[in-house]
């Protein structure tokens, strides 16, 4: 069992994983917004 204190290694890994998720969801959101913008411009 690991000691309950959060290691520096874990802290950096956590930061990287949160950044990864922000990038992924940000990309999806961006594509969605582009499509919404196109939707508002055309008669689909």
């Amino acid at each position: 069992m690991k000691p309950p204190s959060i290691s520096e290694h874990d802290r950096r890994r956590k930061k990287a994983l949160i950044a990864l998720q922000l990038v992924c969801y940000g990309y999806l959101l961006m594509m969605f917004c582009i499509q919404l913008y196109m939707y508002s411009q055309r008669d689909w």
Binding site: P4, S5, I6, S7, D10, R11, K14, L17
Partner: protein, 127 residues
């Protein structure tokens, strides 16, 4: 983070990631339920929207084909010959604005619109 909390952590989850794992678990449950509901209800709801059970599946298939290829003479052949050419191959009737971004000219099909199309056609034929 005190001793008793870290004891309750699931196997493989370190204290640093306890919170993240909790949220991932919630997201996973939401996705699971949503996929199940979609899987269960998509087919029946689509069928009702496009005219079943008033129209048979083959009649719906025929209407789709007529709209897709803008050709009122098309019929949905079923069962389709196993090694025959693709049903739409070589068709010349579909209407599009051609260009680097083609734009089809068919309209969206409204709720139960296919039923009204079929009924109108039958009324015309019976006159």
């Amino acid at each position: 983070m005190n001793e008793s909390q870290s004891d309750e952590l699931p196997l493989g989850t370190t204290p640093a990631f306890a919170n993240m794992h909790k949220w991932l678990r919630r997201g996973l449950i939401v996705c699971l339920c949503a996929l199940v509901l979609e899987g269960a209800f998509t087919f029946p709801l689509l069928a009702v929207w496009y005219g079943w059970p008033t129209l048979s599946l083959q009649e719906i298939c025929t209407e789709f084909e007529r709209i897709r290829f803008s050709d009122e003479s098309r019929e949905c052949i079923y069962p389709y010959p196993l090694f025959g050419p693709a049903e739409g191959a070589g068709q010349t009737t579909a209407r599009d604005e051609w260009g680097v971004q083609p734009r089809p000219q068919y309209q969206a099909i409204e709720y139960r619109e296919l039923v009204r199309r079929v009924e109108a056609r039958r009324a015309r034929e019976n006159q």
